[in-house]
């Protein structure tokens, strides 16, 4: 039924899996709040996995959404506590679009209440952005300044703004970045076409990550249910447990399908992750964020219910995945925000138009 770019990424996924298996054990994840996992980052960086989706011309590793998705999904299966997506398909993409060479080290993106003013021979950046992923650990921060119909991007070394630490539910860094008249004159600045490209891309990234984390949550839960015994037998033999396991499997499969559908759609627009791809296929991206967000909650709920009390202890690894699921569904727009946007787009098409749009999902379109 048509060739699918997702199928061609198995080798890349295997590479990522090998690296993560070696460098991203449970103890790395557990201690990440207090210690930046430098070794993990270096392992990912030296294999080029931190730069997939950015053109080789700008110092990236090449590849498009399908390749990036394979890596991000795999990293999420290990709860890798590093800004992999932020460095590659978010900050890296923006720099690529802006024709700026990628700097070294982890990168991130900031958007919020930021503004620029022209002062004599250049731009001055002020304002603040909340919930910036890993700002404290990044070498450079790509600032997104919304303007009327476009978006100004500026790459700023992370020692220029003030950074106030904050966290998400998974205790991943989501910092506040405060810019007090940062002079952009000697820094790379460019204008992007779409002011909302970052949000679509961010939503797609989190959808992909959620589908990866859900696969892992399902694995952990199936394994636990087959090992754990109660009332004299493995709990997987209880019908009530089987019912829940099947529901969990359904959520994981749906999340996977939703993310795959969006990745196929976006990848079909163009080979490289351009602004337009995520934007042209905004409906599929919205659908993916909505469906994976629903699955994130249901999946986390069922997994904890089946794990019982052990699942909420810090020692057990389940919560690393469930807390990420519950954080990621909030980031770059929750289900309600995206469902409302998707609904508006479709309502404008009417019933027949909606049906046409639904059944052409995934079809290749011109960029």
């Amino acid at each position: 039924m048509g060739s699918d770019p997702i199928a061609d990424t198995a080798l890349l996924e295997q590479l990522a899996r090998d690296v993560l298996e070696r460098s991203c054990g449970a103890e790395v994840v557990a201690s990440s709040e207090s210690a930046w996992p430098e070794e993990l980052w270096r392992a990912l960086d030296t294999t080029g996995l931190t730069r997939v989706g950015v053109s080789e011309a700008r110092g990236g590793a090449g590849g498009g959404w399908a390749e990036a998705a394979a890596i991000l999904r795999t990293a999420a299966r290990y709860a890798a506590p590093v800004p992999l997506a932020e460095t590659s398909v978010l900050a890296g993409w923006a720099l690529d679009e802006a024709a700026v060479e990628l700097p070294g080290g982890p990168l991130t993106v900031a958007r919020g209440d930021l503004r620029v003013e022209r002062r004599r021979d250049g731009w001055i950046l002020s304002g603040r952005a909340d919930r910036v992923p890993w700002a404290r650990e990044s070498s450079w921060i790509v600032m997104f300044v919304d303007r009327r119909d476009t978006c100004l991007v500026a790459a700023v070394p992370s020692d220029r703004p003030r950074i106030v630490r904050s966290l998400n539910l998974a205790r991943e860094p989501r910092d506040t970045v405060i810019c007090d008249e940062i002079d952009l004159r000697d820094l790379p600045v460019a204008e992007l076409e779409s002011p909302t490209g970052l949000v679509s891309r961010g939503a797609l990234v989190r959808a992909i990550q959620m589908s990866g984390a859900l696969d892992r949550v399902l694995e952990l839960t199936v394994e636990y249910a087959s090992v754990r015994r109660q009332f004299g037998r493995a709990i997987a033999e209880f019908q009530a447990v089987q019912q829940e396991l099947a529901l969990l499997a359904g959520e994981a499969a749906a999340a996977r399908a939703a993310a795959d559908e969006a990745v196929s759609a976006v990848a079909a627009v163009t080979g490289t992750p351009s602004t337009r791809a995520a934007h042209t296929r905004r409906e599929e991206v919205a659908a993916a964020k909505v469906r994976t967000g629903i699955a994130a909650y249901e999946g986390a709920r069922i997994a904890h219910q089946l794990h019982g009390a052990i699942g909420i202890t810090f020692e057990h690894q389940l919560h690393h995945f469930t807390s990420r699921l519950l954080s990621w569904r909030e980031e770059y727009g929750n289900e309600r925000r995206w469902a409302t946007e998707l609904g508006r787009l479709l309502a404008a098409m009417g019933g027949e138009g909606t049906w046409r749009r639904l059944v052409t999902a995934g079809d290749p379109v011109a960029p």
């Binding site: 447990v241 099947a246 399908a257 939703a258 559908e261 659908a287 409302t340 009417g350």
Partner: protein, 381 residues
Amino acid sequence: MTLARAAPSTHELGALRAEVRAFLAEARAAGAFIPRCDSWISGHDPEFSRELGRRGWIGRSWPARYGGRDRDELERYAITEELLAAGAPVAAHWFAQRQTGPLLLRHGTEAQRRRFLPAIAGGDCYFAILMSEPNAGSDLASVRTSAEPVAGGWRVTGRKVWTSHAHKSHFGVLLCRTGPPGERRHEGLSQLILDLHAPGVTIRPIRLLSGESHFSEVTLDGAFVPDDMLVGSIGNGWSQVLSELAFERSGPERFLSTMPLILEFIDAAGPDCAPETAETIGLLAAQLWTMRRMSMEIARALAAGDAPAARAALVKDIGTRFEQWSVEAIRRVAGREPAPESADRISSLLAQAIAASPTVTLRGGTSEILRGVVARELASR
């Protein structure tokens, strides 16, 4: 079904869909049908089925020598989707196309294929699926209907329930006992093609709460089935049925049954709808998009000769829960009471959909049974 064909291009598929849509719009305008939910069960119209057959839209992926058109499975899928979304009356030929056709292509004799498949593809020959028995529910392995060997064939005795449209069909595929149950209870079952007009066959339609009668009870009192109406091999009925269930459970009818209501609702909403209405539409679409992909992945596997039973069960469980949810979601924001026979389209479609809602998680295996299938597969990974 395992033939590799070049997949149709997006352009070709689009043209086919456009053709089907144009036909449906015309038929609807001419009053040939009124769109309704669940039309693959409740919309029985032989004339409509024959028209589809004439156009080559039934059994389209089957070999041409059996009345098919040798087209890719994706074309059949696209036609099916268009018919369901439009709420067109496709029940007459539905079960024959969905289950009997693939069954005969996999397990039928050459004579059976030549006899039945062209008639099915022509929209002329309808099959009922005779599986469930009274007091057995989803426990298919407990089949008691028996086939006694006699000269030249079998005499079958027993009772089958919940057979869709048996009273309006020509033949039935009968799951019955031709030998003793083994230790796993699945042995000794076979599938026979039964002429529903044969002596010894009594069909009683079952009146449903909606007032309709699309199910029947079929009583077999020594009805004769000739030898050559055995499908596949003796005692192999259980495994044949299992692969049939994958076809039965994963199709788009497991999540598109309420599509006529959904599309009417979107139409009524319009571009300036309330945030709540927009959110509901978005939630509906996000799930539809996802299930479509899951269902199409299984269609692909089936076309390649696999029988992904657990994945099909999972799609049906998710899909039918979605159908129930979709009715509730629309009902919540629609702002009008469901009313059977109302002139307001949304009120009457809502009434239809609410009345059918309890059944969608029962037909084709209850949710509990489906989840058992999924859980067993998870455990064996």
